[in-house]
């Protein structure tokens, strides 16, 4: 075991963790917005809107994240009309390709988490609101959404942790995130165990933080 290598690679890996966190936070924010939008579409009665949202979540939950990144990065890059369109400004950069793939992926899972949360709301609560003469719009925003968010916290915490580990795939499209830098150090030192232990430790610590933050939120908003 080469402890010197573990110590000397630690600052480099910590630096790369910033990229990992950046990828994670941006895609979680975009994904949450997408998730809310699509979950509302999922509970809509109109079959076209409903089926469209279902198709989206079916596709992104049904294919591996790695395949999605490759389709967006290498696949779209092969198409001439994409390369000559304004989209290429974003798709040319591996960073944006990763963000797009991660956001769409976590958006699909988030929409399912929120949908199931909406469906667990007891009809009695909505009826109580209606019988008090509250507008259905206000019922939706003041009763349904807050309850759905609280209900989905444990499942959403899981999704954040899965997404954190998912960002390691960014290294496959040349991004130097935590995993990318770990692989780079290994390629010059030929010592995978030491470097992956340090990198794994950092992932574990981040998971610990996320887990406790969600637990804190669950306690704070319990009823």
């Amino acid at each position: 075991m080469d402890f010197d290598l573990m110590i000397s690679s630690f600052p480099k890996l910590l630096n790369a963790t910033l990229i990992t966190l950046k990828l994670l936070s941006v895609s979680l924010i975009v994904g949450l917005i997408l998730g809310i939008l699509f979950s509302i579409m999922r509970i809509n009665k109109n079959p076209i809107i409903n089926k469209f949202a279902y198709g989206y979540s079916y596709f992104f939950r049904g294919t591996p994240l790695l395949v999605q990144i490759f389709i967006i990065y290498f696949g779209l890059g092969q198409l001439e009309f994409i390369r000559s369109s304004f989209l290429w400004i974003f798709l040319k950069e591996p960073y944006w390709c990763a963000i797009i793939a991660f956001s769409l992926n976590t958006g699909a899972y988030t929409s399912e988490i929120l949908r199931s949360a909406f469906e667990t709301i007891k009809p009695g609560l909505i009826e109580a609101g209606k019988s008090l003469g509250i507008q259905s719009k206000i019922i939706f925003f003041k009763i349904q959404i807050p309850i759905a968010i609280r209900q989905s916290l444990p499942a959403y915490g899981n999704e954040i942790i899965l997404m954190l580990k998912g960002t390691s795939l960014a290294s496959t499209v040349t991004l130097m995130d935590l995993t990318g830098v770990a692989k780079y150090i290994i390629s010059t030192t030929f010592k995978p165990i030491e470097v992956f232990i340090v990198a794994g430790g950092i992932y574990l610590f981040l998971t610990f933080l996320i887990h406790n933050f969600i637990k804190f939120l669950e306690k704070k908003y319990s009823f």
């Binding site: 290498f74 890059g77 092969q78 390369r83 040319k92 591996p94 496959t172 040349t174 692989k183 780079y184 290994i186 390629s187 010059t188 030929f190 010592k191 995978p192």
Partner: protein, 275 residues
């Protein structure tokens, strides 16, 4: 319960049998994604210069061989961890790698070159035909200077953990934006898509891609050798495996004398890259 016991016992026995069956075979690791050195055909069979050469060398060593596929970036760790016994994967002999493993004598020369898509402004750069970085003469320094200003601000792509990456990061051509990929195939794809302004690899890797894909990839600048580019491509072997190293060196001698290496090299590269 009984079924599970029987099943796991059977599994253990078959595992043991496969391990012992492989014990006297020489396992040779290759990447299978660096044509024409080593690649795979449509059916997934490993082919290429080194695959054919490996079988030839095994005949001279008079031992059974097995060719194992391994991702490039884990090649040396996999050798050290005994996933196989020898590397034949277009791996150049460099001082950095020799700290971790031994190399046989070189069997072929890899000529490195930059490549761009037709129409790039780098097409016009004028340098000498080839430069050797071992002796940094005035002419070499002048060419490096030309390259430094030509590559400034460009995205230069290359495969990870290669001599090409080492060269680009050595500072010989200034501080440039280097993007590294897991395989050469991916470098080629991004060169064609325009994400990479210029790429560095074995010249044959580009000419092979241009020929097979029909994409207008052209070589520019000088060919590189010496220095960070090492001293030819050899068989990588664990440091404590001196017997196997001797056997490979002898086999390469024989194969060279009988003209096997030149013949196989000419077949795959279109020219004699043997050494």
């Amino acid at each position: 319960m009984n079924i599970i016991k029987k099943f796991s016992l059977g599994l253990l026995i078959s595992l043991f049998l496969t391990i012992s069956a492989n014990a006297d075979k020489i396992r040779i690791g290759t990447e299978g994604a660096y044509p024409p050195w080593n690649s795979k055909d449509a059916s997934g069979k490993l082919i290429g210069f080194e695959v054919e050469l490996a079988w030839t060398l095994c005949r001279y060593i008079r031992q059974q061989c097995e060719i194992v596929e391994q991702d490039w970036d884990g090649m040396i760790p996999a050798l050290i961890m005994r996933k196989f016994d020898a590397i034949m994967a277009g791996m150049s002999i460099t001082a950095e790698r020799q700290k971790a493993i031994s190399f046989s004598q070189g069997y072929a020369d890899e000529v490195a070159s930059l490549a761009v898509m037709k129409g790039s402004d780098l097409e016009g750069i004028s340098t000498s035909e080839g430069i050797n970085l071992t002796k940094k003469t005035g002419a070499v320094k002048k060419d490096l200077k030309t390259l430094t200003s030509a590559l400034a601000g460009k995205t230069v792509c290359t495969q990870t953990a290669t001599i090409h990456q080492n060269f680009l990061e050595s500072g010989d051509v200034g501080k440039i934006k280097v993007r590294t990929y897991k395989t050469q195939d991916e470098v080629n794809l991004d060169l064609a898509s325009g994400r990479c302004d210029v790429a560095l690899a074995a010249a044959v890797a580009f000419t092979d891609y241009a020929e097979k894909s029909g994409k207008p990839v052209v070589l520019v600048g000088p060919t590189f050798s010496g220095g960070a580019f090492g001293n030819g491509v050899g068989v990588g072997i664990r440091k404590d495996d001196t017997e196997l190293l001797k056997a490979f060196n002898k086999a390469i001698d024989k194969a060279r004398k009988n003209g096997d290496i030149s013949r196989i090299a000419t077949k795959w590269f279109g020219f004699d890259a043997s050494m």
